[in-house]
Symmetry: C5
Subunit: 86 residues, 5 copies
């Protein structure tokens, strides 16, 4: 997984039917040599703007959705505690 | 997923049989440290030249096709709204 | 797999239900051109702070967990012996 | 997928039994920030030296082979048309 | 797949049970912009120190093992012939 910060929402009216109802967030990787990488992750946990999140990528990202057939390769799986000072 | 811009079409007359009928677009990653990365993505949503799109990569990319056995590792899954100012 | 060093713990109170009970460690890639890359890996082997570990990524990462449906893309699969001088 | 140029053949007499009969080509990524990356891709389409090809990576790469159990993570899935001027 | 050189062995006494009996080699990517990347790959083909090998990554890496449930994301699948001058 990677640690990232939620920096924006992504709106896509035209999209695959299996994605309807999913929220998409723009996240920016925090720390290390990948800092500044942007990714778009689905969110089913209710992450807010500016929060630090755990993002799971790849086929495992689908495991959190009810619909395992959605074309999703990244999802927010947790909110990093505010007092977690890594 | 990554945000990318459609910059060209790719034509391949000789290709795997399971790819016949699919459109392939050259897309360029937008923003962050990966900006300028080129990828070729299948398109089943009708993305137009210059549009900003959501691209799903990896095994999840096959989930949007009827034919789950196509050798596809990237697909356009949505068009980012024009007034989405990320 | 990659060789990495455990440098911190990650706490996430709000997370996917299937992740409850799992420990998450911040690891830093050791050696080569990826040195300094940060990743968050689940740990089911009891790795300690500062230890050098083997991290498996991708869908294979789920193979070590009882619950194959957890949204996990990286896991600590072994502790590199202290006297292993690579 | 990525666009790449076939630059050499790779010979490996000692290899996994499930790979016997497969051709392996050294390809170099074309264009963008990944230009110059080298990959080895299986070829079941008859790509020639110097041709520009479409390469599919990851688990999807196995979808083009009869033998789905071969340890293959990259395969040439098409030849880019010569008059395709991207 | 990537071409890499075997540069060391990795010893890990404490590891996942499903990994017992597997050999782990430290390999360094050869050529291109990824030259110098280090990876740890399982070896079931008997690669020797200094040999150039083909490494398969991702979920496909498990396809060469009898035990498909091992948490393995990279494996040596062949030895590049010594007289192969790429």
């Amino acid at each position: 997984m990677i640690a990232a910060k939620v920096i924006d929402k992504i709106w896509a009216t035209r999209k695959a039917d299996s994605l309807i109802g999913l929220k998409f967030m723009l996240v920016e990787v925090i720390g290390g040599i990948d800092a500044g990488r942007l990714m778009i992750a689905a969110d089913s946990i209710g992450a807010g703007m500016g929060e630090r999140v755990l993002v799971c990528t790849g086929s495992s990202a689908r495991k959190m959705l009810d619909r395992n057939d959605a074309p999703i390769d990244a999802i927010i799986i947790g909110i990093i505690d505010e007092d977690c000072t890594f």
